[in-house]
Symmetry: none
Subunit: 231 residues, 4 copies
C-alpha cells in the first residue's frame, strides 16, 4: 500500500508521509489554502480551523508559520502584489508609448486578477489588517493607481492617448479590471488570456488618440488634466 497519492493533494502534511519538506513550501501551502478559503467563504467566516483541516494539520500548527490570522491575510495579499510589482517594473523598464504601456499594464493586471492571489488584492479588506500592514496595502493601492494615471498622462503627452481626465480614466479602467477578481471563475467559458487581450483592446479603445484610421490633423486642444496628471 503506497501512502503517496500526491497527485491531487497539495498538502505537504500528507498523513503517513514524510514531513521533511522545506519550511517555505509549507508556508506557501498554507497561503494557497488560506487564500482559496478566504475567497470562497470570506475572511471572517473562514476559520483557521478550516484552513488547517484542509491541510491535514491542526490549527496551532499554523502558528509555526504565521503569527496571526491577519498576517496570513497580509501575506496572501503580498503575493498578489508581488506579481503586480513585477510586471509594473517590467513595463516600466520597457519602452513604448503611454498607450502601449497602458495596454501592457491592462493585459498583465487582468491576468493577475484571474488568479487567487490577484483577486485577493481587491477582495480582501485592508481594515482586517494591523494598522501597519493596512498602511502598506493602501500605499500599494495608491501606487497602482498612480501607475495607471501616469501611463495615461504619458500617453496624452506623447500623443498616443487623447486628452482626458486621467483620474477618472484610471478609475474606469481599474474598476473594470478589479471587477474581474469578483466574477472570474477558472474553468469558465473565458480564459484569463482571452479576457486580458479583450480588455486591453476594449478599455483603451476610447482613449486612443487616433482611431484605427488616423488622418493628419492637430490633436485636439482639450486639456483636461486631473491634479494627478503629470506631464
Amino acid at each position: 500500500m503506497d501512502a503517496r497519492t500526491p497527485s491531487f493533494d497539495p498538502s505537504p502534511w500528507l498523513p503517513f508521509e514524510s514531513r521533511r519538506r522545506a519550511r517555505d513550501e509549507k508556508r506557501e501551502a498554507v497561503l494557497r489554502t488560506a487564500v482559496h478559503l478566504f475567497l470562497e467563504q470570506g475572511y471572517h467566516r473562514a476559520t483557521l480551523t478550516a484552513v488547517a483541516d484542509r491541510l491535514n494539520i491542526t490549527k496551532p500548527a499554523l502558528y509555526n508559520y504565521f503569527r496571526s490570522k491577519d498576517e496570513i491575510l497580509f501575506e496572501c495579499w503580498a503575493l498578489g502584489q508581488e506579481r503586480v510589482d513585477e510586471f509594473i517594473a517590467e513595463i516600466g523598464a520597457g519602452g513604448g508609448s503611454g498607450l502601449a504601456k497602458l495596454r501592457k499594464l491592462i493585459r498583465s493586471y487582468a491576468q493577475v486578477m484571474a488568479t487567487d492571489y490577484g483577486a485577493s488584492l481587491v477582495r480582501f479588506d485592508p481594515r482586517d489588517l494591523t494598522d501597519k500592514n493596512s498602511k502598506i496595502v493602501r500605499a500599494a493601492k495608491k501606487s497602482i493607481d498612480t501607475t495607471f494615471r501616469t501611463y495615461i498622462a504619458d500617453g496624452i503627452a506623447d500623443g498616443s492617448i487623447k486628452p482626458c481626465d486621467t483620474k477618472l480614466s484610471a478609475f474606469a479602467i481599474a474598476g473594470s479590471l478589479n471587477w474581474i477578481g469578483h466574477w472570474f471563475r477558472r474553468g469558465g467559458a473565458l480564459s484569463a488570456e482571452a479576457i486580458a487581450e479583450e480588455f486591453a483592446d476594449r478599455l483603451t479603445e476610447g482613449l486612443a488618440a487616433k482611431p484605427i484610421r488616423r488622418k493628419a490633423g492637430p490633436p485636439p486642444e482639450k486639456n483636461k488634466r486631473s491634479r494627478g496628471g503629470s506631464r
Copy 2:
C-alpha cells in the same frame, strides 16, 4: 454660533427631544446609521452596539425594528436595489437606441453608486445574509447584469453599438461603475453627477458604432458631452 447643528445628526432619538416620530422614520434612521457604519468599518467589525450608540438608543431597541443584524444588512441592500430597480424601469419604459439606453443606465447607476445605499450593493457580502436573502441578492445582481447585456445587444441589433462581446463589455462597464462604490467620497473633488456624465461618455466611447467625433456632415444629434469637454 448656534447650538443647533441639525445637518449631520439624523437620529430621531436625540436625547432631551421629542420621541414621537413615526416608526418608519426610526426604522429608516437605523438603516441610515447602519449602512454608514457598515461601510465605514465593515459589516463584521461594526457591532450592533455601535449602531445603537450612534442612535442614542440601546442595542435591544434595534430589535423593535429588525429581527437580526443580517436583516439590517439586507434592508440596506434592498434600499439601494430599489433605486436601481426604479431607474431601470424608467429606462425600460422610455425609448431610444440600445446605446442611448445604455448611456442612461450608466449615468443612473453611477449616481446610485455614489450613495451609501448604492455602495452597499457592491460592498456588502451576500454570504453574510441568510440563504433566502442571499439568493434574492444574487438574483438581483444577475438581473442587473442581464440588463446591461440586453441594452448592449439591443444596440448591436439596432446599429447604435458596434458588434462586440456583450458579456465582456457588460462586465467591463459594470466593473467601472461598481468601483465607484469603493472609491467615491462625498465632498471630494468630483461630484456624483460629474462622474456619471463622464462615465456615460467614456464607457460607451469604444462601443459606439460611429465615432462621436464626426467629420464634415450633419452634426450628430447625440451631443451629450461631459461638462469638462471644451470645443
Copy 3:
C-alpha cells in the same frame, strides 16, 4: 357617586362590584391561557408575549393583573392547590375508615390531576418562584404527602389497611397519581372519571386488609385492555 345604583345607570363605568368582577374574570382568563401555555411549552420557553398574543392583548397589559411572570405561575399553582385543599377538607370532614378516606382522596386527586391547574401542581418547578412562594408550595406539597400518610396510618390503625410502610406507600400512590398530570390528555381514550375510579381501586388493592370484594366463584373476566395505547 353611589356604587349601588346598578339598575339604570347608562355610564360605561361599571359599578364597583361589577368592575371588580370584570377584572377578576380577565385575571382568570390570563391564568387559563398561561397555565395552558406553560404546560404546553414549558415555563421557560413560554414567553409572556405568547400568553398575551393568545389573549389578543399586549404583554404589558398582563402587568395590570400580575406583577411578574412567576406570580402568574404561582397563581396557576394556587388554583390547583385550592381544589386539592377543598376535597381534602371535605374528606376530612366526612367519616369512614382510613381506607375509605384514602380511596376518596385518590379519586379526587386523580381527577384534579387531569385538569390543567391540577397538572400544574406537579409539572411546574417551585424553583421558578420567589423564595417566599416556593416555600408555600413546598409546604403544601408536604401537607398533601402528610395527608396520604395519615389516611394510610389511620387505615392501619382501624384495620382497614394492612400494615405497611406508610411513607413508601404514600409515595407509591402519589407517584401514580402525579404521573397522570404528565400523560393525561383530554379527549383521549380514557375519561378522568374512569381513571379516577380505576386508580382508586388499583392503588388500594394491595393495601386493603381484606380483598375488596371477594365472593366465591370464578374471578371476574374483566378484560379491559386498552388498544396499543396512545402516547
Copy 4:
C-alpha cells in the same frame, strides 16, 4: 490538612494536579457535574459557566467535549437510558412469568431512578432538546412504556397476573417509579435497594393472580415501616 480531598470532587481538572487524564474521563466528568447541577437547579437556571466553574475550567473548554448545552442534556439522558436498556435486555433474555419479569423490571427501574442519570430520565424536559434528540427520547419513553405493558400482558396471558387494564396498570406502576426520581435523596432513610425491593412487592401486590399465599393467620412479619408510620 491534606490538599487531596478526593472523596467529593470528581473533577479531573483539579488545579495543581495532573491534567493528563483521558478525554473520555473528562467528558464523563462534565456529564457528572452537569447532571448534578441540572437536577439541582433545573436545566434553564443552570448555566454552563456554573458547570465549568465546578470543574475548575472555563466555559469554552466545555465545547471541547460537547457541541451545545442541549447536547450535554441529551447525553445525561442517554447515560440513564443506557442503563435502562441494559436491564431491559437482561430481563428480556431471562425467563420467568410475566409477573416475575415485571417484578424484575420494577426493581431495576427503581434503582436506576435513584441515581442522577436515572432521575434525568424523568426530570429533564425533552422539549429542551433538538427536534432530532427529542424524538429519540420520546421513542425511548414509549418503548419503556411498551415494555411495562408487554410484561403485564404476558402475565395475564400466562396466568401470573390477573386480568386488568394493561395501559392503566403500566401507567400506575411507571408513575410510582418515576416519582422516585423526584423524591429520592441519597443518604436518606431509605436505600435505593430497599425501595426497589419494597416497590417490586407493593406495586405488583394488587396484580398478582393469586395472593402470595394468603392463609388465615398472622400477617407476614415483613414489617418495614418508616418512621412516619403511626400505629
